[in-house]
């Protein structure tokens, strides 16, 4: 819409008044990024600005030598003609919503967010605004997350059960965010924990910031021998079914994802067990967050865009509109490109490579 503070361009969400892009999907001069997941932080941009607790992760996930500045949550910075600040999104460590203000008008880009509790990151904070840009990864009422503590108990019971029958427990989860959150739920673990290399290097930034995680060791051949039959191994889902698994002997496999709430993906993925754990807001979380911002206009991005837009318009009386983006909304059951929406259609036709790279974010139901 004309006069909008944030619009979309070929490169991504664009704030013209401030002269920066938000989570751009192409290299740009100045990128403001919400968090370090691959579909939001892409290498090649000139400068990056992100929330301070996530700066180290963003550094790890961009190109070597990238210029990454951190800004504390709540601190305001003037860029061009706007004031910018970051506010916790509760998604993963350092994840932020971006608040942009110009002449009393406030926009908030939510990025990826969740409202449930997570000991590995600052809790989601509702930021009053006029326009809220919301994701919709799990924007259908069938998605209602169980109590994370109940799930944590289930994970522990599953592990103990496997150990009792001499099986190694292989828990698959995205390397950034989900794995650390699962680990944090396993303080006082009933056995040794080994981690796959993909997430071993992502634990440091968490521990450096004082987030308590149980002791873990890199799953080398020797460590594998020690954990075999009774330990827990955490690995990215792509490790399931690979020869790498063999060194753990007889394993029981599990996958932790919001998609595990559905029987189809649960069975198709071929894990012995599925745990419903998500770093995205469920249906009620989305509605609650949107309401708490007080925004009268809501722009909806990646996920179940159409149903959420329609619900907000018809049932909540908000001015809701879809906002085409190239965040990974292409997962299982995700909104498809429609002929009436050439923008969305092209959005899904290009940029094949980053999709494959985004394996650490569950916006894409893993194929």
């Amino acid at each position: 819409m004309k006069g909008d503070l944030v619009t979309t361009t070929e490169a991504g969400l664009w704030c013209e008044a401030g002269g920066f892009h938000i989570d751009p999907w192409r290299p740009v001069d100045r990128a403001v990024v919400t968090h370090a997941h691959a579909d939001h932080t892409r290498p090649g941009s000139g400068r990056y600005l992100t929330a301070a607790p996530g700066a180290e992760l963003v550094r790890l996930r961009t190109h070597p030598g990238a210029v990454v500045d951190g800004l504390e949550y709540g601190e305001r910075l003037t860029i061009g003609g706007v004031q910018v600040s970051f506010h916790p999104a509760g998604h993963i460590l350092g994840s932020a919503q971006v608040r942009i203000e110009r002449a009393g008008e406030v926009w908030v880009v939510g990025g990826d967010y969740k409202t449930g509790s997570d000991p590995t990151c600052a809790a989601f904070e509702a930021v009053p605004c006029d326009v809220f840009i919301s994701e919709s990864t799990f924007g259908l009422p069938v998605f209602q997350w169980p109590d994370p503590e109940v799930v944590a108990r289930e994970v522990r019971a599953w592990w103990e059960g496997n150990a009792a029958s001499g099986r190694t427990s292989l828990l698959c989860a995205y390397a950034l965010g989900k794995s650390q959150r699962l680990l944090a739920g396993l303080n006082d673990p009933p056995g040794p924990i080994a981690v796959h290399g993909a997430l071993d290097k992502l634990l440091g930034p968490y521990r450096d910031q004082g987030i308590e995680l149980p002791p873990t060791r890199y799953a080398s051949v020797e460590v594998a021998k020690e954990v075999r039959g009774h330990g827990l191994v955490i690995a990215p889902p792509s490790a399931n079914g690979t020869p790498w698994m063999r060194k753990f002997g007889d394993v029981s496999t599990a996958f932790a994802s919001g998609w595990m709430t559905l029987r189809g993906p649960r069975r198709r993925r071929g894990f012995d067990q599925g745990f419903t754990v998500s770093d995205h807001a469920d249906w009620r979380g989305l509605l609650g967050a949107i309401e708490a911002t007080g925004a009268s206009r809501v722009l909806v991005t990646h996920g179940y865009v159409d149903p959420l837009v329609r619900y907000l318009s018809e049932e909540r009386g908000l001015q809701a509109e879809p906002l085409a983006s190239r965040f990974e909304g292409e997962g299982d059951g995700a909104e498809e490109a429609k002929p009436s929406d050439p923008e969305a259609a092209t959005a899904t036709l290009v940029e094949e490579a980053p999709r494959a790279a985004a394996v650490d974010d569950e916006t894409q139901e893993p194929a």
Binding site: V142, D147, V150, E154, G264, R267, T276, Y304, G333
Partner: protein, 542 residues
């Protein structure tokens, strides 16, 4: 109900046969007789009836969850399974864990056992007025966990299925009863009500069973790639593989019945055959094929289809589609179980019996002569013009076994027809593949236009399915309800068994048993076949 749901979860969670069997045995050993009877009934896939209108179910779910009906429909479209969608939607934050789970969660309140649950809340639902139905459904939702609600919805919509083979259930039951599997399969055959008494009979002695029950069918495997690997051709009796309905004709006491392979009584569709069976001596069981028959050859399955699942048959239909029973085995004579006898001996007795009976609609299947594999292969090559599917090979010295054991009975089908077709529509799948685009409508060219000729659901590997799914999502050009119109770019080779005229299809024909043989990534849409070439194939008898 709770115990049964536990079993369902255990079966659903694993693909390992040994774990499934262990779960079944544990359940059947622990469950009360009436519940066990119902569980066996359901697991064996005996058909349930829809006892509630699913439209009402959606409306009640919308009311109960405070959601607009369109959002219930959207959710259904995304999930791909109505029972699951509603189970999730009416969940009122009951604190259950992952997915189905009451794992680790204690819940208060008693729920009926499976039998009482079904009696009251499933079967009982059908007889109620709409308002009372609604009240009972709502009450039941409140009493159940999400996973149990899913089962409840499957039961009341008549769509209960579970991923466990009938043979495995029979094996577990055999273990619990302490008998061999063939004995258990025999006990399970026939009419069988899910009652405590029936369960006791199943577990103890087979005296109490259905006096008209059939024997477990002996089923064949496909021949190995090199048919010579079976040994000497002379060790086998070859017959045509008929394209009809496999059936057992049972004549006992004063009654005659026809059982289909699926365990259904099909008397209604074949009254003239049932009547003729009355001429046979009591204590006779014949295994054979029901066929639509015109003079000296079968009329094709599409004609026979008009007879299937009929309660009665009009005079007109009797004349238009004459039928016969093509007998190929004799399982019981004068009340004696002949199954232990060798094939050759049973065949001799069958020929004598049918000759003596001399009934117009009872024939003996020809033995196909050929003492070498070459000779049999030549005979097989004539299958299509004879209107049969190929050859059956039955070891001459084998008894009539139960189920599908390897080694004695083989089917040697003719090579299927093939066509190159273009993917034009896609729809989401069901069950394991719900939410992936796995149901394809395939088309051939006609005057520069693509005309659908087949729907296919299978044949690709999981990896290929995911690639096709990704293609579909990115190439949707229109949508009609759940159907997505995609850009015509992908070419598949489909295999099928025959072509029949059809007024219901735009192409004027339909294919039998179409499945995807392979993805022709080397071909462009323009290389696909034409309707003309399909019609030419139909010229060949099918």
């Amino acid at each position: 109900m709770r115990r049964f749901h536990g079993l369902y979860q255990a079966l659903d969670a694993t693909s390992r046969t040994s774990r499934k069997e262990a779960a079944l045995v544990a359940y059947f050993e622990a469950a009360p007789a009436a519940d066990a009877a119902w569980a066996a009934h359901l697991l064996l896939g005996r058909r349930g009836r829809r006892t509630v209108n699913t439209r009402h179910l959606r409306e009640w779910a919308a009311e109960e969850s405070g959601l607009p009906l369109w959002l219930v429909e959207e959710s259904y479209d995304a999930v791909g399974d109505l029972a699951e969608t509603i189970a999730l939607l009416v969940c009122r934050g009951d604190g259950s864990g992952s997915g189905d789970g009451e794992r680790g969660v204690d819940h208060e309140g008693q729920l009926e056992g499976l039998a009482d649950f079904i009696e009251r809340r499933v079967i009982g639902l059908a007889g109620l007025e709409l308002e009372a139905q609604r009240a009972l459904v709502l009450e039941t939702w409140g009493a159940l966990e999400a996973g149990e609600r899913f089962l409840f919805h499957k039961l009341i919509s008549g769509g209960f299925r579970v991923g466990v083979a009938g043979g495995l259930v029979a094996r577990a039951l055999a273990k619990v009863a302490g008998v061999d599997r063939a004995t258990m399969m025999h006990r399970l055959a026939g009419r069988w009500q899910p009652t405590a008494e029936a369960w006791e009979a199943l577990m103890s002695e087979d005296e109490g069973g259905d006096p008209l029950r059939p024997y477990p069918f002996f089923l064949a495997h496909a021949v190995p790639p090199e048919v010579e690997d079976l040994g000497a051709a002379a060790d086998f009796q070859a017959e045509w593989k008929w394209d009809g309905i496999r059936a057992q004709a049972v004549r006992r006491g004063e009654e005659s019945v026809l059982w289909s392979r699926g365990g259904d009584l099909v008397n209604g569709g074949f009254p003239e055959i049932v009547e003729e069976l009355g001429e046979l001596q009591a204590g006779t069981v014949i295994d054979g094929e029901l066929l639509a028959w015109d003079g000296d050859r079968p009329m094709g399955f599409h004609q026979l289809q008009r007879r299937i699942q009929r309660k009665s048959v009009s005079k007109k239909l009797r004349e238009e589609v004459p039928v016969r029973l093509m007998a190929y085995d004799l399982l019981e004579e004068a009340g004696e179980d002949l199954r232990p006898l060798p094939t050759a001996e049973r065949r001799r007795r069958l020929e004598t019996l049918v000759r003596r009976a001399s009934l117009p609609r009872l024939a003996v299947a020809d033995v196909v002569e050929g003492s070498s594999w070459e000779a049999l292969a030549d005979a097989r090559a004539t299958a299509r013009e004879r209107g049969v599917e190929g050859l059956m090979l039955k070891r001459l010295d084998a008894p009539y076994r139960a189920g599908r054991p390897r080694g004695d009975w083989w089917k040697w089908k003719v090579d299927p027809f093939t066509l190159d077709v273009v993917l034009v529509y896609a729809q989401r799948g069901h069950g394991r593949r719900a939410s992936l685009y796995t149901d394809y409508t395939l088309a051939v060219w006609n005057d520069g236009e693509l005309v659908p000729v087949a729907k296919a659901y299978s044949g690709l590997t999981d990896k290929e399915i995911r690639r096709v799914d990704a293609f579909v999502r990115r190439h949707i050009i229109d949508r009609f309800g759940p159907v997505r119109v995609v850009e015509p770019e992908l070419v598949f080779e489909i295999a099928f068994e025959g072509i029949q005229p059809s007024t219901r299809h735009k192409a004027g024909l339909s294919l039998r048993f179409p499945r995807i043989a392979r993805w022709r990534e080397d071909k462009a849409p323009a290389d696909a076949d034409t309707l003309e070439s399909v019609r030419a194939l139909m010229g060949e008898p099918s």
